[in-house]
Symmetry: C2
Subunit: 360 residues, 2 copies
């Protein structure tokens, strides 16, 4: 068995020690004679797994006591609908910042369900820089302000947390747990698991207590944050195995890596290594404004796009997987989530340099 | 490692060969250098896994070509909402049969979202027998008829498929794949995976093509069957690992067991063995009308309920796990899904007989 370097944007690389532990426990969890997958979600064993996962997640991000952490299903795309259902019960217009494809989808869903105001947009600069704070113009009746902290496809990341008098809501799918975070600045934070949390099929939501009372009456029960919060995310059967794996990832990040402060240093180093190599090259380039370059998703293009296929084939042969950019933008993209090692980045930079020498 | 006998109602026992194969492939799928969990859902490797799983599922149940099979999230509880959203776009009243706790929840959600007519109910007989065909009275404006094929908590199962001029919709969470099925009788069939399909966090929906055009305009995008169908259940990132595991279960059922015809024979034998032991005893009893006794979930009570705790403790010590009845009904429940072996049932019957001798 050889584990290759996996730069997939999501579902993404998981820490090898996490997978090894999962493998060890797969048929028999701690001598109980069954797999975690086969346990009742209401059994003492699974409840302990679930509570420990939440406790470690809360500890990692220092989530204040007046926030609930929900373990849900459906991905960020489901949150695009859940957010307006849960926060518009008192009326008002949801406000959005548009910085890329995911933000656009969130806006489209809010409009589909009633309406949305775009408070600032990166459209004019071709999605290469996020709006500056002074450019954000909320509507008078703003109910909340939503933004996408890190656009996974565009590789565009906020360099600041917007200030807002209305609840600030954020899609952090591809940046959560990559660095420390002041949760108290937010009303709602959500993230699909399949980047820095665990396998696909789990969605984490952090919601401030006082926002649990704003749901529209017609909110489907499974969409209602309050119902999920009051039932400890077990109103119905949760995705137990994904929850367990997320717990293993939190344990790894907290105890093996040393927490989000430690991973931030590593992530900064990884991203700098790759962006520096791109900038120093005459062959590779990044279209993103330096201040908004994502540490998690690094899109880049080759000077000669006719070499794209050869680049990807040679990369794969060298054990560097999933470097193709999203089908909607093309080019290349290297995702450098927490589980992607510095050795992986070093190997990528080495390959890119060699490729440039041979083809540049 | 010792695998114990697991009678959990869900998440439930999985076939040991499936878990062994998952373990073998966990860190490196077929020499690709990464786990299935770490693959892009759009990679050729995962698309092949997904397509094979669907093909095997379709083959097992002989799903006709004019039905779509969707791999979704959210469990049956989410389908309780999705169904009215998707089928009431042309108006009409949804009709329901009430035979237990899950049917009641489906009715409650339909009422929450607009209204429902109960076309027949098992309330008068204390949820111990399903309505007879002649008792079903649809409303004049019925848009569809929904029922719960097998009530997981009550252990109450339909002995027939209702006839209906409007689309017949069925929650088959705890009975799907336990026997052959004439899918052509139905408009929509759905099932949470965590009984006979795979791990929790995956929901299968079988929907007839012509029903994809009836969604209410305000249907959330992630709730829309048509959107899911047109995107091959990959409108957003699906629960890839659960999908893969479901594929392994389908493969096991089709190729190791011999299909749903073969498992039906085994399931009938397992259930008969346990019900016969209960009926022959003066100590155990089943409240359910014989014709409606579930083969999948066998609830039973002890003549002396003060022995419940001792029964469960001794059963667990004997390697017989999760026999406690649902908290809402009490007593005992043995779930005998496809992955529960005849040896497990034999061990349970032996234990029950021994317990009766010592305590009866």
């Amino acid at each position: 068995m050889t584990r290759k370097y996996n730069f997939c944007a999501g579902p993404a690389a998981l820490p090898t020690p996490v997978l090894e532990r999962a493998r060890e426990e797969l048929l028999d969890y701690e001598g109980r004679g069954l797999s975690v997958m086969e346990m009742s979600h209401r059994s003492p064993e699974f409840v302990t797994i679930a509570e420990n996962a939440e406790a470690n997640f809360r500890a990692l991000l220092q989530v204040p006591d007046n926030y609930r952490v929900l373990f849900l299903q459906g991905g960020a795309s489901t949150q695009f609908a859940m957010l307006p259902y849960n926060l518009l019960g008192n009326g008002g217009t949801p406000n959005y910042l548009y910085t890329g494809i995911w933000g656009k989808k969130a806006i489209a869903e809010a409009r589909h369900l009633g309406g949305a105001h775009v408070a600032a947009s990166s459209e004019a600069n071709g999605l290469t820089a996020v709006p500056r704070p002074e450019d954000i113009q909320l509507s008078d009746d703003a109910a909340y302000l939503h933004y996408t902290d890190n656009e996974t496809i565009g590789g565009l990341a906020f360099d600041y947390i917007p200030r807002s008098d209305v609840p600030l809501c954020c899609d952090m799918s591809s940046s959560i747990l990559s660095r420390p975070l002041d949760v108290s600045r937010f009303g709602v934070i959500y993230a699909g698991a399949q980047k820095n949390i665990g396998p696909a099929g789990l969605t984490l939501v952090i919601v401030r207590d006082d926002l649990l009372d704003r749901a529209k009456p017609e909110t489907p029960t499974m969409f209602n944050y309050r119902v999920m919060a009051e039932n400890g995310s077990m109103y119905n059967t949760p995705p137990t195995y994904a929850w367990y794996l997320a717990g293993l990832v939190f344990d790894w990040l907290k105890n093996d890596v040393g927490g989000v402060e430690a991973i931030e240093v590593i992530n900064a180093r990884k991203a700098a290594r790759l962006y520096d190599a791109i900038d120093a090259s005459g062959f590779y380039s990044s279209p993103i404004a330096p201040i908004n370059r994502s540490r998690m998703n690094v899109p880049f293009v080759l000077a000669d796009e006719s070499l794209n296929t050869v680049f990807l084939e040679e990369a794969e042969a060298a054990g560097l997987l999933n470097l193709k950019g999203h089908r909607s933008v093309g080019g290349m993209r290297a995702s450098l989530y927490n589980a992607v090692s510095e050795a992986a980045v070093e190997a990528l930079v080495g390959f890119m340099s060699d490729f440039e020498k041979r083809h540049g």
